[in-house]
Symmetry: D4
C-alpha cells in the first residue's frame, strides 16, 4: 500500500469526506483492506477459487468445506479424493462430478461458461500408468475455465506416435507433459514446440526410479530450454500453472 | 505432417504443377521441410535464436559462433561467459554487451525494437548473492524482447521489504523469483500474485544447503500453487520461460 | 566432582566427623552421589520427568510404566500413544488425559500449578495437516508447566493470516513453528520476532518432500538467524526445548 | 498493527491534533511505521544489529557497510572474513577486532557494557579442528553482550575430560556444543545439563562424514531431548540463538 | 527416410506408375510408411513382440491385450503377473504358461522353433532370493527364442561353487548375472569370461542395501570391464538385452 | 595350492604310491580337494556351521534345511524367524529353542560344551527398542560357543548408567554395541575400553534417522578408533564377528 | 578344470608319456595352466589386451607399462592420459597415437588388420560437451579392431538431427549412446533401433544434474527395453562392451 | 570405580595409612585416578599411544606434539602427514620414519621389540591406487607391534591372483582388505578365510562410485559374514582394529 493512497485517505478523513470507520477499514492491514481484500477480489475476477486437498480429511470435513465453497464460488475443485470419500460426498452434493482416474470432485456453476480463455492446453503423457496424474491436470485446467486436448500414450520409446500429433500439440497455448520412469518426454517435446511447457514427473517405475526422483531430475536438467517443472505426481499444480498462463494471455489482450 | 498435405503435394506432382525437386524438398523429413524448417521460421518470427553456452568453449569457438549468429539473427545471447572470454570476444565483436554480474554477452540489432511484447517481467531476488543468477534471467528476457523490472534484496527474512513493492510485482505478467539458502521466497510471493511465477533455486548457502538442492526441494514443495521450477542457478532457463509466456500472450491477442 | 570437595570429604573421614559409609555414598560415582543424584534432584526441582515413548510398547508395559511414574512424579507424559493403547490405559488410569490429535496421554497432579513460568510459548503452524505435530508440542509444554497460545493455519501461502496475529506471537517468550511441505514459515517468522524460535519440520507433503527432508533442509538453511531446528515430526522435542527456555528464564530471575 | 491504534491515529487527524504528514509516517506500512520501525527499535533495545556475511563481498563493499554500521549501531559484527579482507578493513577501521580463528571482525562501542545479561553461555567443542566454528559462536555471543566460557577439546572419545568440567557447564544458562565427525557430544551433554543446548555440526572429518551431514543427522536424532540444531558450521547461528535465550531471560525478569 | 527413396516415389507418381493413394501410404510419416512400418517389419523378422507389464493393469485389460497379441504375433510375454491375475487369464487363455517364480505368462506358437539362435545365454545368480529376478530373465530370453542355461546359487561368499561351473558359463554367448546385497558377483565373473555380461542388481538385502541401490552402484563401478547394467530387479530388461546380442550375432552371419 | 604340493602328488603317481583316483581327488579344484574341502574341515574344527536366513523362505523349506543341518552339525542357527514359522518348525523339531525377541531358532547338541572359548563378549545396547537386534547378536555368539554378558539400557542420554557397569564391560574380550537414533554409544564406549568393539546401527528412530542410515554414519565417523561397523540391524553379523575374535584368540594360544 | 582332464594328465604321468614338470605346469592352478593361461590365450586370440588407466600414475610408470605392453601385444591402449603425460610418453614411444579429445594413447601393430569384425559400431552423442567421452569409446572400440561410425550432436532437443541419420545408426551392429544433462537420448534411440545399445551417462550439466547421477538414473529407468548402462563418463567401458558384442558375433559365425 | 575400592581407600585414610593427598589423587575422578589413569596404564601395558592426525595442523604444532610424545611413549605415530610437513619435522626429529605412500611419520624406541604379538596381519588390496590406504594400515599395525604381510594387487577382476596367495592369507590372525570402485574383494575373501576381516572402502574410482560410498555400501552388505567395516580411506582405523584383535588374543593366552 503506497504512501500516496494513505495520504489520500488521511486527507479525506481530515476534510470529513471519509468516516473514521471507513478509513479504518481501508487501512487495517490484511483481512480488511490489505492483501486479503485483493485476494478476494482476485477470486471474483479470475474464478480461481480455493482448491481442497482431500487426503487426510474426514468425509465430514470434506462435505462441510465443499458445501461452503459451492455457495461462495462458481467453480469448485477437490483433489486426491478417494472413491470412498466421493460416494459419501455425492449423497449430499450430487452435482459434483467425480473423475475416478483423476480422483477429483469438481463442479462449474451452470451459468458459468465452460471455457473462458482463447486457445487450449495440450496434456501429453507417455504411458497409461501416467494417466491419473494427467487427468488431475486436465480436470484442474478445465475447472478453471480452460479448453484441454489430451495426447496420451505418446512416450519416447515409440516416438512416431508423438510425431503423429505434433502439429496439434504445437497449436496449443501451453503444454503439460506428464512422464514417469526416465522422464524424457519433456526434453523431446521441448525442442518441438514454441509455447510454455510444464513438466510433471510421476512416481511410475521401480528400482532406480527412486519414487519419481529420477524423472524429476531429468526434467530439471532437460537440455531443451522452456521447461517448467512441478513436484512429483503434482497434476494439480501443472493444471493450475497452465491455466494461469492462459488467463494472463487473456488479461494482456485488453 | 498430415496425410492431407501429403496428398496435396502428390496431386501437384501428378498434374505437373510441382517439380519433383520442390516436392522432394517439401517432403524430406526434417532439415528441409520438416521440423527444422518450422524451427527456422519460428526463429524468424519470434526472435528466439540459438543461445550459446560459453562454459567449456575455447575463445576461438566462441568468436566463430557469435560472428555467425550475429549475421543470421537479430538477437544474440551467450551465457556463462568468463571475463577473460569476454575481453577477447570484445576485440572482434565490440558491439556485444558484456554484463559482468550475469556473465552474458548480448546484442540486439539496432533496427530491432527493444521490447516486443506487452507487459513486463518482474525479476525478484532475496539476497545480493543471488543477483548474478537474477541478472542472467534479466539479460535473457531482455534479449528476447521483454521489458523487465528488477526487485532485488527483498528476501523473506525482512519481509516488509517485499511488501513495499508488492503492487508493482503484482502488475507484472510473469515473475521470476531467485532464491538460495532455504528458497522460501517463491512460496511467499506465490500466495500474493496471480500471474505465472518461475522459481530459480540458487546454490548460495553452505552446509545443509547441499549446493542448492535444499532451495530446489523447497520450491518443488511450495504450498502455494502456481510455481514453476527450473534447475539450480538456471537464470537463463527462467528468463527464456518467462519470455515464452509473454510471447504466447501476444500470439493469442491476434 | 572437583578435587576440593573430595579433599573436604577425606578430611572429615580422617578426623572422624564422617563415617566411611557416608563418605562412600558421597564419592561413589554416578548412581549414588554423582550425576544420577543431581539428575533426580533436577527432576524434583524442575518437574521435567521421564517421558514415555509409547510406540512399540505393549499396553501392559505402558500401563506399568505410567502407574509407576504417576506415583513418583507430579507430571506424567506419554507420546505417540495410539487410540487403542489409550483406551486400555484409561481403564486403569482414568485420570490421564488423552489428546487424540497429539496422540498423548498426560497428567498433572491436582496440587501442582498449571503454569509455573512467566510468559507463554506461541505454537504456530501452517496447515491443518501439521496440527498433530503442533499439538504434541503444546501438550508437552503444558505438561511441563508452560502457558501456550496456539496460532494455527497461518502458512506462508496466505501470509496476511500470519500478520493478523503477529503481535501476539511477538509477545511470546519463545515460538514453536511447525511446517511441512517447503517449510518456509520459520524463515518468515524468524525475521519478525525477537525471541528464540524452534522450528519443527513435518513429513506432510508428497513426492519431492522426501518425507520431511525437504522441510528440514529449508529450516536448517533459513536466511533469518535465530532458528533452532529439531527432528522431523518431533513435536515433543520442540515442546521440551521451549519449556527449557522458559524455565531457564525463571531460574535467572532469582 | 491493530485496529485500535489505527483508530487512534485517525481520530487525531480528524480533530487536527496530528498532521497528515505525521499520520502518514505512522501508518505507512513497513519502512516507516510498520515492521521496520519496530525492527529498528528492536535493535536499539536489544543491541542485536545487522550482521555482515563477508564471503563473496569485495573489500570495498565490506568497508562501506562496516563504516555505516559503526555509525548507526554500538555493536558491529562481520563473519567469514578472510585474513586478506581483514587487513584492508583494518587500515580504515583499526578499532575492529579480527579473530583469525573465528574469521570475524567485531567491535563494541567503548560506552557499551561488555556483558548485558545475567549468566553465561558455555561453548563446548570436541576436537581442536572444531575450534574455528566454536570461536565464531563465541565472538557472536560476546558481541551481542553475553558472557561466554570456553570448554574446548572435551570430545566423547575421552569422556573423562568432559566430566572434569561438567559442573561449570551445568551452571551456564545455555550451552553451544560444536562437534564434527560422528557428532555424539550433544547427545552425551544433553543428558547431563538442564538448560537449553544448541548443537552445531561441523564439516570436520572425511569419507562417510559427507561434509558434515553425518554429524547433522546425529544431532537431529539425539536420544536426549532438549537439543536444538543449526546448520553445518553455523557458529554464528548458534551464538545468535544462545544470545536470544539469555536476552529473553532478562526480559522476563522485569 | 532418405531423399533418394522420396525422389523414387515422386517420379513414379509423376510417370503414373504409382497411385496417389499408394504414394501417400508410403510417405505418410510414421504409422504408415515411417518408423512404425519398419517397426512392424522388425517384429515380423525378429519375433520381439510388444511385452506386457501386468502390474497395475486390471485382469480385464490384461486378458484383452493378451488375446490380441496372441492373434497378431507368435510369441507372447507378460511380466509382473500376480498369481491372482494368472488364474483368471488361464481360464480364457489356457495355452499361456505361468511361471510363478518369474511371475510371467508366456506363449510360443507351436509352429515356432523353441530356439532360433546359435549359442546359449548363461543366467547366473548368487542366492536363492535372487531366483525370481533370474527366472524373469530366463523366461524373457526363452520366449524370444534363445537357449538358456541356469547357474543358480553360485554367490561370491562360496566362490568355489562358481568355479565348478565356470567353463560352461564361459562357453555361453552372453551372461546375465543377477545379484543382490553387495552385488559383487558380476565383478568376479567379469574377469573370468570373454563374452558380453549383463548385470542385474536386485533389491534383496536390508539396511544399507538401500533397496538395491548398493548392488546397483557396485555393478556400475565394477573394476572388470565388459559389464552392462540394467535397473534394479529388471530381469526382463536383462533377458531382452541378451536376446538382442544373440540375434545380432545371427544377423551378422549372413 | 602351491606347486610344491602338486609336484609331490605327481611324483607319487609316477612312482605308483598314489592311485590315479586318489590323486584326482586331491587335485580336483574346489569341491573335492580345493577350498570346499578346507571349508568343510573348517566347519568341523570351528563349529561355525551354515546359518539359515529364514525371511522369505516357506516353512517347508525351513523345516527341510533345519532337519538336514541338525543331522550334519552340532550347532544350528536360523535368524529372522517369524513366530508363525517357529510354531510349525517346533512341531517337527521341538528341540530347537525359539527366542522371540531375537527371532532366532537355535540348537546346540547336548554333547557340545556351551562355551568353547576363554573370556566373554559384552553385548551393550542403549534403548529397549534396540534389544531385538542385541538379542540376535547374543544368540548368534552363544550358538557359536561364546559366553555373553548383557548390558542393556545404558544409552548416552543417561551416561551414568553406562559408567556403573563399565568395568565389567572392560573385562570382556570383545564388545558388541547396538544403538539406534544418533548411534553415539560406540563413540563413548570406544574411548573407554581396550578390546575390539563391533558397532551395530539399528533402524530405531524416525524422521531424519533415515531408517538407520544416521546411526550407521555416526558409527563410521566415530572419533574413537577401534570401532568396527556392520550393516543396519545386523545383530547376526556382529555376533558372528565377535565369535571369530574369541575363536582366533583361542587358536593363537596353541 | 574338469576331473576328466585331470585324469588324463595323471594317466600320462603314470604311463610316463608326460614329465612331472610338464604335468605340474598343466595343473598349477592359475598363472600357469589355470585361468591365467586361458586368459593369455584369450588375449592372443581376441586382441583385447590389458588397458592402462593413466590417471594417478607417474610418467615413469606409464612409460614402463606401455613399453612392456607394446612388446607383448599388438594392440595397446591407455586411457585418461593428460596432455602432459602424453608429451613425455611420445618422446620414448613416438608410434603411440594421442587423441587429445579422448585423452587416449593407442597403437595397433602395422601387421594387424585395422578392422577384425563384420559390421560397425555407431557412437552417438547429443552435445559437443559429450564428445570427449564419446571419443574415448571410439578409440577403445577401434583399438580392439572394430569399425566405428560417429553421429555427434544429435541430441533430443533438436530431434530432427537424429532422424536425418537414423538409418545409418540402424544399420550398425551395436550403438553407444553418450548423453549428459537429462540423458534422454538412449530412451529415444532405444525405440528406433533393433540392436544392442550401450548408454553412457556423462557428468555434463550443472545443479540438479548431480555430476551425472541424473543422466545415469534416466538411462537405468529408460522405458525402451534393450538399454545397457555403464558408469558415468565411462567411454572406455562402453567401447569395450560394444567390441565384445561384435567379437561374440564373429565367434558364432564359425 | 567400584564401591569396594572406594571403601578400601577411605578405610586407609581413616586408619592413617593413606595420606589425604594420595587418597585425593586416587579418587579424583578422571585425569588423576579415574579413567585417565587406567588409560595411561593401558598405554604403558599395550603400547597403543595417542595417534596424531596431522591434517590441518601447523608444522610447529606437529613438531611440539611429536616431541612430547616421543619423550612419554615408546611408539609414536602421525597420520595424514604431507611431504612438506615431513621434511620440516625431519629436521628436528630425524629418527622418525616417513612413509610417503602411507603419509605417516612413525617411530619405535630401539629398546622396544618390533613385534609383540603372535601371528600376523594380512593386508590385502585390489589395485595399485588403493596402496596408500593399505600402507597407512600397515604402518599403524607395525607401529603398534604387529607383524604384517602385504598382498597387493589381488583384485577380483583377476581373481586367480588372489588364489595364488590364499593360503598365506588364511594363515594370518586377521585380514585388512582395502578396495575401491565396487569394493567386492572383502565379499570374496570373507568366504575363504576363518579369521576376523576388516574391510576398508577407498574413494578410488569415479562417477557412480560417489567418492567411496559405493564401496562402503558393498562392504556393509557383503553376503559373507565376518566382515567388519571402517570409514572410507580409513587405513589407520583398520590397522588399529586389527592390532587390537592381535593384542586381545595375546591377553587371553595368560
Amino acid at each position: 500500500m503506497g504512501r500516496i493512497k494513505i495520504e489520500h485517505i488521511l486527507k479525506n478523513v481530515q476534510n470529513g469526506t471519509l468516516s473514521i470507520e471507513e478509513a479504518k477499514n481501508r487501512l487495517t492491514l490484511f483481512d480488511d483492506i490489505g492483501f486479503a481484500k485483493l485476494d478476494i477480489s482476485r477470486h471474483e475476477r479470475t474464478g480461481f477459487p480455493e482448491v481442497v486437498y482431500a487426503e487426510g480429511k474426514t468425509v465430514e470435513q470434506l462435505v462441510d468445506i465443499l458445501k461452503q465453497l459451492k455457495k461462495k464460488t462458481n467453480r469448485v475443485l477437490a483433489t486426491r479424493v478417494s472413491e470412498k470419500q466421493a460416494i459419501i460426498v455425492h449423497e449430499v452434493l450430487p452435482e459434483l462430478h467425480y473423475n475416478p482416474a483423476a480422483r477429483t470432485l469438481s463442479w462449474i456453476h451452470p451459468d458459468e461458461p465452460q471455457s473462458r480463455y482463447q486457445g487450449y492446453i495440450a496434456v501429453v503423457c507417455g504411458g497409461t500408468s501416467d494417466i491419473p496424474v494427467a487427468e488431475e491436470a486436465v480436470v484442474t485446467a478445465e475447472t478453471f475455465g480452460c479448453k484441454v486436448e489430451r495426447f496420451y500414450d505418446v512416450g519416447v520409446a515409440g516416438i512416431h506416435r508423438l510425431f503423429n500429433c505434433i502439429e496439434e500439440i504445437r497449436n496449443a497455448s501451453a503444454s503439460i507433459v506428464v512422464a514417469g520412469m526416465e522422464g524424457a518426454l519433456p526434453s523431446v517435446l521441448g525442442g518441438l514446440v514454441d509455447h510454455p511447457l510444464i513438466a510433471v514427473p510421476t512416481s511410475i517405475g521401480y528400482g532406480a526410479n527412486l519414487n519419481g526422483v529420477s524423472a524429476l531430475l531429468s526434467m530439471l536438467n532437460a537440455c531443451a530450454p522452456g521447461i517448467n517443472v512441478v513436484n512429483i505426481d503434482n497434476g494439480f499444480g501443472a493444471g493450475y500453472n497452465a491455466a494461469q498462463i492462459l488467463r494472463i494471455s487473456g488479461r494482456q489482450e485488453k
